[in-house]
Structures are given as C-alpha cells and as structure tokens.
C-alpha cells in the first residue's frame, strides 16, 4: 500500500502522512456459522506460504495447539454446558483483531516495524522488525509470535496484500459456510445486526457483536451467541484493554524518564558551574610520617611505601 495510507507507525512520535481517506474495513467472524473446519487455517497457510510443524494430538481438536510464527490463525474449541444443561461446542477462529488502538504498535520500539493503515489493518513489516517481542507484550489478545528461525514477529496481516488490490482475505475467500465475511466496517456491523436478530430468534438472548471499546474497536469482529460471556470462547477477553503495565511502560513514563535523565545531567552541569568541583588545596597535604600501612580490610588496598613495587604497582 502507498505510504499515504499509513495512519500510525510504531516508534514514531510525529504524525505520518495520511492524506487519503479510506473506508475502514472489517472481517466479521460469525461463531454461530463456524463449523471449525479449519479451512481458514489452511488457506492462511497456503496464501502466506506458512508451513508449521506436524505436531501431536494432545487430546483436543485444537491443532496446532497455539499460534506461532507459522500459524497466524487457528480454531479454538470449547465444550460448554449451558445453563439448561445443553451442550454447546463453541468454536472460535483466533488471530489478530486489528485493534483501532493497537497495543503491539504502541509497544514496538522499532520505527515502522508496525504500521496501521487508514483502512484499519495493523500490519507488521518484518524488514524493520528487530525481534524484541515487545509487540507480544503489548497485545491484549496475546497474538503476535516471534519466529525461532528469523526472530521476527509474525501475525495475521488481514491479507493486507490482497486487500490492497481489492480482494478479500484468504480465510474469507475459503470459508465454506460464510462464517467469515469481509467488507467495510459499517457493512459488517449491519450484517452482524441481522445475524444477531436471527440468533435471538433461536433462543440466544445474549447474542451480540464483539467489537471491544477498550482497544478502540477492532477490525476483526465476532458475532457471539453469548456476547455477555466472551471468555467462554477459549478465553476471549471480556473487556480487553492494553495492559496498564504496558500503558505505564509505554505511556508518559517514557518521555518523563528521558526528561529525568536529561535533568540529572543538567543538574550536574549546573552544580559544577555554580558550586564547582572539589579540589585538593596544597595546605591540605597531610603531615606526619608515613608508617607502614596496616591491613584493615580486605577491600582496602594495602600499600607498603617501603616496598612500592611489591605488587607490581609503580608510582605512575
């Protein structure tokens, strides 16, 4: 994408050029339509040329078990017994949420390694990535992963390369049931509203849209049967915010810390200018004879003036 479309850039304190107005896009994942077929996982691997390792079964349907630098999206399966004792198999496609207020971008120390496009896509530029992993620390959804091969951070790009040329993300293209749809954020909200009406007609009173305010809204949204309990869906955060620890670390404390350091240097400088150094004046030369030095402490060096070279220490 053209650089004008970047509205935020990591480790950049000035405003980037963002002259073009672009419509915000969003991917809507309808958990009530998702059958957990993992076609999106496969499509993601195909399009992005990702080949994770053939792992093990740990007694669940989740494979791979977690996101990695080679797995940018995956299905998380949860067996949930609802209040009336009926079983629900909640399946959630996990991956980058493309927050409007991205914690990864906030945490990233490398200028331009993480960028936010005007359409809402938060993208990693591995060329600028230094592999520190601060993005992981900053992410409220625990999404980015550092490759152990090249030590760069990776995550879902929302197929920014496809979207830039007017295509939908690969996972959307492949989703067989239409559980993943893509379009302008406004359209997706409208579509979600229809779905929520349908779900309510099927007894899911708490059906709703997951577009959390705490991170300024997201450009990947979920339709949930139980929007009041997002944590049921394999721990989807209820009120995600950038961790206060990260906020503290990356917020005002940074400039303040720099200021403090600068101030300390200046304080020293002015102290020197105003009060001046402490020098040894001639009359302060100690008098008296110079007996042999006693050993008082192992930390205190022993000097025997009668044998100045004893320890190879010559008077300079």
């Amino acid at each position: 994408m053209a650089s004008q479309d970047i509205i935020a850039r990591s480790a950049t304190t000035t405003l980037p050029p963002s002259v073009r107005q672009q419509e915000e896009v969003a991917k809507l994942i309808d958990t009530s339509k998702c059958i957990g077929c993992k076609a999106c996982q496969v499509a993601c691997s195909e399009w992005n040329e990702l080949r994770d390792e053939v792992g093990h079964s740990l007694g669940t349907y989740d494979n791979p078990q977690d996101l990695s630098a080679e797995t940018w999206t995956l299905m998380r399966f949860t067996e949930h017994e609802n209040t009336v004792g009926n079983l629900e198999w909640l399946i959630r496609k996990d991956g980058c949420m493309h927050c409007a207020d991205p914690g990864c971008l906030k945490a990233c120390p490398s200028p331009g390694a993480i960028i936010q496009h005007a359409n809402g896509i938060v993208d990693f530029n591995q060329d600028h990535c230094i592999g520190c992993g601060y993005c992981i620390t900053g992410c409220p959804f625990n999404i980015p992963r550092i490759s152990q091969k090249d030590h760069k951070a990776y995550k879902c790009t929302l197929c920014s390369d496809r979207v830039a040329v007017g295509l939908e993300p690969a996972c959307v293209k492949t989703c067989p049931t239409g559980a993943i749809v893509f379009g302008s954020k406004a359209d997706m909200k409208e579509h979600a509203a229809e779905r929520i009406v349908d779900l309510k007609s099927r007894g899911f009173e708490q059906a709703g849209l997951y577009d959390p305010d705490g991170v300024g809204g997201t450009h990947v949204m979920y339709v949930l049967h139980h929007a009041d309990q997002p944590q049921l869906y394999a721990g989807l955060p209820n009120q995600p915010v950038i961790s206060p620890l990260v906020g503290l670390w990356k917020g005002m404390s940074k400039p303040l810390a720099l200021l403090a350091m600068g101030a300390a240097v200046l304080a020293g400088f002015f102290h020197y200018v105003r009060i001046g150094p402490q020098r040894i004046e001639d009359d302060e030369h100690p008098a008296g004879k110079d007996p042999s030095v006693r050993e008082v402490d192992p930390a205190v060096h022993v000097f025997d003036p009668s044998n100045p070279g004893a320890q190879g220490e010559d008077r300079p």
């Binding site: 053939v54 740990l58 007694g59 494979n63 791979p64 067996e79 349908d198």
Partner: protein, 808 residues
C-alpha cells in the same frame, strides 16, 4: 441426492442424521447455513456424537449407532397416528392404496419366505401387489382394505411406540418427541424438510433399509420432488456418484442398466424382463425404453460389430453366476486362493475395506498386485513392516507389487459428477509429476497390448476384446472430450425420428429420448445423454443465474437426467398441476405444457387430467412405501441390531435370535468367528471422517497433516473417568479382530446412553491415519471393522461394532 446442493437453501427444516455434513461436506454445508440465515430454517442433528454439524444445530439428540430405523419407525408411527401427513400427496402419489398379495406376512421379526439355512429370503413371491384381470395392480382408494399398503404399513409400525423407540435408540423420549413434532410440521404443503445423510446410514448391515425408512418419512410428509425436500445422499468422494452412474459395480452396466445372470442367455428375455410395462393405467413406466438404452450402449462399445443379428453383442457381455462380485466377495475369494492377480485402481483396500488383517492376508495370497494411484498407498506397501502399525513378516509375502503412478483429478481435464448429479467439467490445473500418467492412458495401453496379443496368439473368448470399438484419434490416449462425447451419444446412421427431426451420422444427440434400439444411435451412458450436444459441452457451463429465485441454476454445469435438478419434480405440483405452495414452486402446467424453474421430470405435454403420476420410472407411477421384492430384508424397513450389538437382543423381537441382526445381511461363513460379544467388548464403536482430512489421501499433504497430525479416539467423560483416562493419554482399542492404539480425546460430546435398561458407552474412532504420508504414523482404523455388510449393497458395517478400551 434426489435434490441438490443449492436447493438445500429452500428447506425449512434440515435433518442431518447418518452423516455429519459440516464435517465431511463443509462446502456443501454452506447451503444449510444459507437456509438457516435466509429461510429461517431450523437444523436438527441426530448422531451418536455431538458433531461439528451439531455445533451449529438448533437441536441435537444423541442416538445409539445402528438404531436409526427404530427412530424412523417410531416417527412413521407418530406421523400416522397423529395424522401429520400430506394427505393428498400420499393418497395420489404413493402406493398406499395398492393391495398387497395375500402371501405377504411379517411374524416375529421375519417376513414371509425366509430360508434360515441360506440366511436369505429365497421366496419373495408374496412381496408384490395383487394383480387384477386387467393386468394392473389392484388398489383401494379408500385405504380401508386391510391388505392395502397403508394399512399394512400402519400395522407394521404400530409396534414402534415412543417408549420402545427410545429404549432402542437410547434417546430420551422427550427429545425424540420434540424432534418428531418439529418434523411433523413439514407435512404442511408450504414447509419442507430435507434429509442429509451419508455413510452414517449406508455403512450398516441395515443401511439400505435405514435410507428407505427416511424416504418413507419424506413421502408421508409430501417432501419428495419438492424444493428443499428430498432424501439426499452426500457422496463421500467427489466423483463417487459418477462411479455408480457409470456402473462400476460388478452387477451393473452404465446408466443403472443391469448385467444379465447366467440364466439369462436369451437376449429378448433379458430385455423383456427389464422393459417393465405399466402397472396402472395411463402410467409412463419409463423403463419400457430399456432396450433403446441397452442397444445404444452396445453400439458405443462395439460399434459396427454390434448388429441386430448378433443381438448387439449380447453374448460378449459377461453373465453373473452369482448375484455379484463385490469387493467383500472378491477378497473372500482372494483369501481362499481363488484370485491370482488384482488391479487396484484408485483404491486403498487395506485401509478402506473392513478387517484390515483379513484383507492383508488375502493380498498376501496374490501372485501380483497392480496399484494405480497418485499416492504411495498403504495397499501398495502392505508387505512393508512398519513396526506396530503394520507388523508383517515381509519375507513371507511373495506377492509382486507393481505401482503405476497416476495423475490426480487436478492434473487432467474431465468431468466429475457430484452428489447433486451435476456433471461439472474441470480443467487441468497442472501437469502430473514424474512418470505419472492418466488412468485412461494406462488402461488404454493395457487394452491395446492385450488386443495385440489376442490378435497374434488368439485365446479363450477373445471376441469381447477384439470386437471392441476403439475410434479414438490417439489410440493410446483417448481424450476426455472424445470419451465424454461417447458417453453422451451420437447418431451412428442417418435417420429421422417420429417428430420429424433429421439426424446425420456422427451427430451428437441432445437427449436420451432420441436413443433407438435399431442400432442407429450409440450412447455410452444413456443418463448422460444431453451432456455434450451439438451445442457443445454442457458440463462446462458456468451460468449461475436464477431467474425464479428458486436456487435451481439450470445454466450451471449439467445435471442428469436431462439437466433436471430435482428428481420426481412433478410431485411438487398438485393433481391440477399447480404448485402445492407458492413458495415451493418448481414445475407446473401452464395449460399447454409443463415448465417452470426446473426441467420437468415428466412428459411435458401430458395434461394433469390424464392422471399420469409423477414417479415415471416406476411401472405403477407412484412412489413405494412397500418395496416389493427390491430389497433383501423385506418390503418394510425393520430394525435389526448391528451384528455386534451391545445389548445382545433385538428389543422388538427379544425371543427370536434369527431376528436379532439383519437376517439377510451379508456375512461370509468364515466371518462368524471374528465377531465379538458385549461381555468381552462392551463398548459400541463407530468410525468416521474428520473435516481436516479426506480419507487416506490428505495425510500425504503437509498442511492437512498439521491440522490433524496424530491418530485419536473420542471417549465420553463418564467412560474416561471410569477407566482413569484423561485427555492426551494413549489408549488401546481392541476388538476380536485386532487392536489400535491412539491418543484419547475425552469429551462431553459423547454421553452414555440408556439402551434397553442398560448403560451403553460409545467410542468414536476417526479413520485417517496409516503408515504412509506426512502425519504421524497410526493404525488403520478398519482393523476394527467386521468383515460383513448390507445385504443389498454389500457396504460394510463400519459404523457399528464392539470394542474394549484400556489405558496404556
């Protein structure tokens, strides 16, 4: 499918039972999603496991594997006793009024005519209609005659009370009733239910009858021939529909023509027996045209060599000395040393057939085995010792294995027939790798070499090979286009048909109505006639327009027969030719002809007043509740237990051992000893596919391997607790035929069921792993499956068998 994929979107209720559409058919399942999202459809799933399909269902109920007829029988009883049927449809378009012969009876689990020694119904003479003096079947439109199908059916299913059905199925009675009530609402003309099933129904010793019972329910509800209705088999391979269409079964010819038996040496008798005359006045009985289809087939095969004088080469066709040489039979013969060589084309029998150890032993008796496959299949390496996964003594196996690498579907042009009966042309995506050749190429070269040798040296019964028509431009590599055109059919001589249309030699035909039995037409598969006409390749069409908004899409590819999308679609209109409901309009009578959103499955110029009925392939013109003599087990579906039953008896016939399991099921004598009993193997197991893999193919693909890397079995929480098993443990699953070891998935999705007053635990066993490919090695699941099958289709009982379970 009687209907088709996109038509599912027209349904008001979707019943997925005997299948797991979301798992095994995720792409087609989009139409279920569509029906839910835009037609307010409800989805009901009945399955031993809470499946991926159940995860998006409105209602799920568990059922014990193999007890589906009890559920359906109970439902039939419920619909009849609560009078929740589509009366006019049932009365007019089905056989309810037909009078059944006095010889038919049903006592203590057995129909009349059973021969216990032969384990089959040797006398089916009673399984038919009373025929009047006029040569037509007798009917009683009042349905009062105690021998009419309606009364017999009502009586037969009156035994399937909700309480008993619940006891057999292990489904709580209130769940069952709730589902039945929901289904019953589809007897309204404006509401339809579609039933989606797959191998969860077919892979039982009573599989065909389960499906029949579902068809009966749909007929009672008036849902056959209706948009959003039907009985829909979701085929397990992309082209398995094409396989059956082209008659790749030992007793079939292309287009569901049948191979003659040894007794049928006389050509005219062979045709006469199949060209059935109408059983009721004014009916079409389309099979009357059998001779035209047959002669056209023979002209396609033998060309000028097929003449009226030699009965179009009838003598060159093999005649069956037994009902069929299905794979179970072949491998049984192989085990007995009666088979020397075996060609395995696109088939992985040690993985796909039941009782892997038996299949292995059979293969080891071969002198040679040829495997044509794109992949390194387990079968092609059955002789290789792969530790516990294939623990064989290689040195003792003398079979010579020849592997011929073939291209896969994406590496060749051609057509695939999907579950919707759509012939969809596809184009090569890439060249095949290495030495891979197309199957056509390999088979052609084999044929040419055989023919050359017969020509040179002669041999026994050389004519079928020497007389074969081989008109292809490149003899060793007939093109897909040439073959497709041949299947469609062409004129072999100039002629003018009854309507006055003139045909020139070599002209492509546009429909099977043009086929003739005088040798002037050829067609390799009559039902495909119309797929490649003078207008070109109809299968390559990709017009998805939908002018009526009824999701029929007649311009997309081409559906057999005659581009008809929904079979029996005349039944979507009432006796006057008007759609039963405006939202369900499919075809209708406009005063002159039949037309509408689909190609009418009917004679287009017959007015409704003529009372020709919609089921034109049947001589009686109506749909059958009473299956006549067509089924091995009897005219009405009856619940029989799986051969390995966890409860030991059939609760419907507790006193009759002969009626515990299918009395006409396919069991070879040598198999009885390999069957286990509940006291040793207490758990009911069922095998199935996962969405991450396709059979034994995709384990060769790294990405698929990543998504399901290692073999597992699914165990309910209650059983796991009993056995001290936690998720991730390794367990051994044993049956009388062998064992497998796998990771345990402990789940809430499988619950213990109360069956016949005892607790039955079920274990789920996915089948994708083996000892070749990119996944972690696993055991072939079919090690556990008993070597027996359905009496009609010979399909193995892969969905219901007994095992024991232990933690390793």
């Amino acid at each position: 499918m009687t209907n088709h994929w996109t038509d599912i979107a027209n349904a008001n209720l979707v019943l997925v039972m005997g299948g797991n559409a979301a798992e095994a058919h995720p792409c087609g399942f989009k139409w279920v999603t569509e029906a839910k999202a835009h037609n307010q459809a409800r989805l009901i799933v009945v399955d031993p496991r809470f499946t991926r399909t159940a995860s998006v269902a409105d209602y799920y109920a568990p059922i014990r594997t193999g007890s589906d007829i009890a559920f359906m029988g109970g439902l039939i009883n419920y619909l009849l006793s609560e009078d929740k049927i589509q009366h006019e449809y049932v009365r007019s378009y089905t056989d309810v009024s037909f009078i059944v012969k006095a010889g038919f009876s049903f006592e203590d689990g057995l129909f009349s005519g059973y021969d216990a020694a032969k384990r089959s119904y040797t006398d089916k003479s009673g399984w038919g209609y009373e025929i009047g003096e006029d040569g037509f079947a007798k009917v009683d439109p009042t349905l009062q005659d105690p021998r009419c199908v309606y009364q017999l059916m009502k009586q037969h299913y009156s035994r399937y009370t909700p309480a008993l059905a619940s006891q057999i199925c292990g489904m709580p009675e209130d769940s069952m009733r709730k589902i039945w009530e929901e289904i019953a609402t589809c007897s309204q003309p404006g509401k339809t239910m579609t039933i989606l099933y797959a191998l969860g129904w077919t892979q039982h010793s009573i599989g065909s009858q389960i499906i029949r019972s579902a068809a009966m329910v749909q007929l009672l509800l008036g849902n056959v021939g209706m948009p959003g209705g039907g009985v829909n088999a979701l085929r397990g391979h992309s082209n398995i529909q094409g396989l059956t269409d082209l008659g790749l079964l030992s007793n079939l010819l292309p287009g569901y023509l049948t191979l003659a038996s040894d007794a049928e040496q006389d050509y005219d008798a062979y045709i006469a027996k199949r060209a059935l005359k109408p059983l009721r006045p004014g009916q079409m009985s389309y099979w009357q045209n059998y001779g035209k289809f047959h002669v056209s087939l023979m002209k396609a095969w033998y060309g000028a060599n097929a003449t009226a004088e030699n009965h179009w080469g009838y003598d060159w066709l093999p005649k069956l000395d037994i009902p069929g040489y299905d794979v179970l039979k072949m491998f049984d013969m192989m085990a007995k040393g009666q088979v020397n060589g075996y060609f395995c084309q696109g088939f992985n029998p040690i993985a796909a057939l039941p009782d892997k150890n038996r299949v292995m032993a059979s293969l080891a008796k071969l002198k040679w085995l040829v495997v044509m496959d794109p992949l390194a299949t387990e079968t092609s390496e059955f002789w290789r010792n792969v530790g516990p996964y294939n623990d064989v003594e290689t040195a003792t196996i003398q079979t010579e294995v020849i592997r011929l690498p073939t291209t896969c579907f994406a590496e060749e042009d051609g057509s695939l027939v999907n579950s919707s009966r759509w012939l969809q042309w596809h184009w090569k995506g890439a060249e095949g790798p290495g030495q891979a050749r197309t199957d056509v190429q390999i088979m052609s070269e084999l044929f040419l070499r055989l023919r050359e040798r017969y020509q040179r040296e002669g041999g026994a019964w050389a004519e079928p090979i020497l007389k074969l028509n081989w008109p292809y431009k490149v003899a060793h590599e007939p093109s897909p286009e040439e073959i497709a055109k041949e299947f469609n059919g062409y004129a072999t001589a100039d002629f003018t048909d009854v309507s006055g249309a003139a045909f020139k030699t070599g002209q492509q035909l546009s429909g099977f109505a043009q086929l003739r039995d005088d040798g002037s037409t050829a067609s390799g598969c009559w039902i495909f006639c119309g797929s490649w006409t003078e207008q070109g390749n109809q299968m390559a069409r990709r017009d998805n327009s939908d002018p009526y908004g009824m999701k029929q899409h007649l311009g997309w590819a081409w559906a057999w027969p005659m581009n008809r999308r929904i079979l029996y679609n005349r039944a979507s209109a009432d006796l006057q030719g008007k759609p039963w409901a405006p939202n369900k309009r499919l075809v209708w009578w406009n005063g002159k002809t039949w037309g509408g959103t689909d190609v009418p499955d009917y004679k287009v110029d017959v007015a409704p007043e003529a009372a020709m009925n919609p089921f034109i392939m049947n001589p009686e013109g109506v749909a059958r509740f009473f299956a006549l003599d067509k089924m091995a087990e009897g005219p009405f579906p009856e619940h029989y237990e799986p051969f390995e039953t966890p409860i030991g008896i059939n609760p419907l016939h507790p006193g009759n051992k002969q009626a515990t399991s299918n009395p006409a099921g396919r069991v070879f004598d040598s198999v009885w000893d390999s069957l286990g009993q509940a006291k040793d193997f207490p758990y009911a197991a069922t095998s199935y596919r996962l969405t991450e893999h396709f059979h034994f193919w995709t384990k060769h693909c790294p990405i698929n391997a990543v998504t399901q890397p290692e073999q597992f079995v699914e165990i309910g929480e209650a059983l796991a607790k009993e056995k001290g098993i936690v998720a991730g443990d390794r367990v051994r699953v044993t049956c009388k035929r062998g064992h497998i070891e796998a990771v345990a998935v402990v789940t809430k999705r499988i619950r213990p069921l109360q069956v016949n007053n005892q607790t039955v635990h079920q274990i789920g066993i996915p089948l994708h792993w083996g000892f070749t490919g990119a996944t972690r090695h696993g055991y072939l699941t079919n090690t556990l499956v008993p070597y027996l099958g359905d009496g009609n289709t010979q399909t193995p009982e892969s969905k219901s068998f007994l095992v024991n379970l232990e933690k390793i």
